[in-house]
């Protein structure tokens, strides 16, 4: 494994200085594809509000799947197909070249881009997108998604969002934030003096559920993203926590603990009727729906320490899923249903592990970060974002499901915790 530090280029810093989180790729794939994104031409007189090609470059580099070429190394900077000299790019050992133009038109900005295969010397993708000034960053991520899908076969997740909690050191302020998957354009969506934990997306990405302690105990709230409207949904006597929407969005799995005995429940969101799923004196928590919408993975201490179990909601049959190590908790499933990702303790250190559902093979994915927790899988199944401890602070970090790609999203201040990666927006 070749480790290289692709610290984001200085000229990117300017455009990202607003963002609280900044991506630093700490480890990329050895097989990363070399790609050159040539700065797009721009016919306007004043600079573009967002540097589109720079954002595309950053997206591709931060995915770990690509090794991008610095603009200073480019022999020429073509914008049109007829300006491309393939031999130049071949000499620079590039596999692909992206060129494009940005034009201001009556109804907004128009971006045309081409993806060229250097070896075959052919154009393999051409696309044109339009948007308003406020949407330039969205346009850039959209272009990145297009290129990523074309070159890797996997849908890109550059247009997806994150929600996460930030706190000050004193833990007297808890903020729920919404940001682009690259940490840019952070927006505060809820702020409280009391803890906020366990944010979860609805499958239509229109609302989030989370646990708030604003009434002196843990209760589950829903919040619509477009309107900011909040609703207290689960607030039974006791402790209410760990919300998880079913894949079809009609049910909510959660944990209710009355008198110290946390068990798994499922609420039908249309009727608000609840059904108890587990009834055990041990801790049962952290429910997560399997992709089939019928089974739930959950953490239980019924065998002593926390382990992951699988529950069939139809007949309430339970089977243990994790067996390696004394601490396995907070399971998340990849969108294809093939891999389980969870927090695993080995040698007194907490890391993120993946387990192949069929073979049961366990792979510990992280090693550089400490106290890893709260893993959340990208909707294309490529990356896992998680919270970790670094130099006395809590930061977000990401690792690919195969462990090959790693990056960090350190914040400028405070602690960042409990990330939740959005579904792909339709």
């Amino acid at each position: 494994m070749v480790k290289h530090s692709l610290i984001v280029l200085m000229w990117l810093l300017a455009s990202l200085s607003q963002a609280e989180l900044l991506i630093e790729v700490t480890q990329g794939k050895q097989s990363a594809i070399p790609v050159a994104v040539v700065p797009f031409s721009w016919n306007g007189s004043s600079p573009l509000p967002e540097d589109i090609s720079a954002i595309v470059t950053n997206d591709l580099a931060s995915s770990g799947y690509f090794r991008t070429l610095g603009t200073a190394s480019m022999i020429t900077q073509p914008h049109q197909l007829n300006e491309v000299i393939y031999a130049d790019w071949s000499r620079l050992k590039q596999d692909f070249v992206v060129i494009g133009t940005v034009e201001l038109q009556a109804d907004g900005y128009a971006v045309q881009f081409h993806v060229l295969d250097v070896h075959q010397q052919v154009e393999i993708l051409r696309h044109r997108v339009k948007g308003k000034a406020s949407q330039l960053r969205d346009l850039a991520h959209y272009i990145s998604d297009f290129i990523f899908k074309k070159l890797t076969g996997v849908p890109g997740v550059f247009s997806t969002k994150l929600i996460y909690v930030t706190t000050n050191r004193e833990r007297t302020r808890f903020n729920l934030n919404y940001a682009d998957a690259d940490g840019a354009r952070e927006q505060l969506i809820y702020s409280s003096r009391h803890p906020i934990i366990s944010p979860a997306w609805s499958p239509d990405a229109k609302k989030v559920a989370y646990v708030s302690f604003e009434n002196g105990r843990s209760e589950i709230f829903f919040q619509e993203l477009a309107t900011g409207k909040r609703e207290r949904v689960v607030a039974f006597d006791g402790s209410n926590s760990a919300p998880a929407f079913s894949p079809d969005g009609t049910r909510l799995a959660f944990v209710l603990s009355t008198l110290g005995n946390p068990d798994i429940y499922v609420m039908d969101l249309a009727t608000r009727k609840t059904e108890r799923m587990t009834d055990h004196y041990a801790i049962d928590t952290e429910p997560q729906w399997d992709v089939d919408g019928r089974h739930l993975f959950f953490t239980s201490s019924r065998a002593g320490g926390p382990q992951v179990y699988k529950l069939d909601t139809a007949n309430k049959q339970i089977q243990r899923v994790t067996f390696e190590g004394s601490y396995n908790a907070r399971a998340r499933i990849t969108a294809d249903g093939r891999k389980l990702v969870y927090v695993h303790r080995a040698n007194d250190r907490f890391h993120i592990a993946s387990q192949d559902i069929k073979s049961g093979l366990v792979n510990i994915l992280t090693s550089e970060t400490e106290l890893d927790e709260s893993p959340s899988v990208a909707p294309n199944g490529s990356m896992i974002i998680y919270a970790a401890s670094e130099a006395d602070r809590s930061i977000l970090a990401a690792v690919s499901v195969d462990g090959d790609v790693k990056f960090r999203l350190p914040s400028k201040y405070g602690d960042v915790r409990e990330p939740a990666w959005s579904p792909i927006f339709q």
């Binding site: 934990i197 843990s218 603990s257 008198l259 952290e286």
Partner: protein, 183 residues
């Protein structure tokens, strides 16, 4: 350290004496502290030296016992081992004092706030904090407190008192705080 231990032992001893005295001969101790006492003493004025001295003695004992109990109740934070919700012996004397106080003051109520250290997952730690509060609740109830006086809440790993990432901090964060809402 040694004096504290001695003080606790004394307090326990006085507490035990007080409780047994209450149970067997309630009138003696009750008389000592109430306005009824002088009347009772007056009525039995002749040849009751022994009773009177016993009453005085009881009063002194109770004052000291009360003081010792109050001192024990100054401990309001109780610590736990990693991934454990078992009460440690070192906190039991103080919790018995809290239980005795709650038993004697039915209007008093407490919130038992459970906490965990930052290791492990957020939700599991929330459950663990609650487990710890429940352990304290059970102990208080076993020692005379009423369930209606005890409210249980967990903050998991969200409210650490020490910010370090070492056992020194962790051991202080794995705790239950007894917080009086009314006395």
């Amino acid at each position: 350290m040694q004096t504290t231990a001695l003080y606790k032992t004394l307090g326990l001893a006085f507490g035990a004496m007080l409780i047994s005295a209450c149970a067997s001969k309630g009138d003696v101790n009750e008389g000592a502290g109430s306005t009824v006492a002088p009347t009772a003493t007056e009525q039995q004025a002749e040849g009751t030296n022994a009773v009177e001295s016993a009453g005085l003695n009881g009063e002194a004992l109770q004052a000291e016992a009360n003081e010792a109990q109050a001192a024990l109740r100054e401990q309001t934070v109780f610590y736990f081992d990693f991934d454990q919700s078992t009460l440690k012996n070192e906190g039991k004397a103080a919790l018995m004092a809290h239980a005795a106080f709650l038993a004697a003051n039915p209007a008093a109520s407490v919130v038992l706030e459970g906490h965990a250290d930052e290791r492990g997952t957020v939700e599991y730690n929330l459950a663990l904090g609650e487990r710890r509060s429940m352990t304290v609740r059970r102990f208080l109830m076993a020692n005379g407190a009423n369930g209606s006086q005890l409210k249980v809440v967990s903050f998991g790993e969200e409210r650490p008192v020490m910010m370090g990432h070492d056992e020194g901090s962790y051991s202080k964060n794995r705790r239950v705080e007894v917080k009086y809402q009314s006395r």
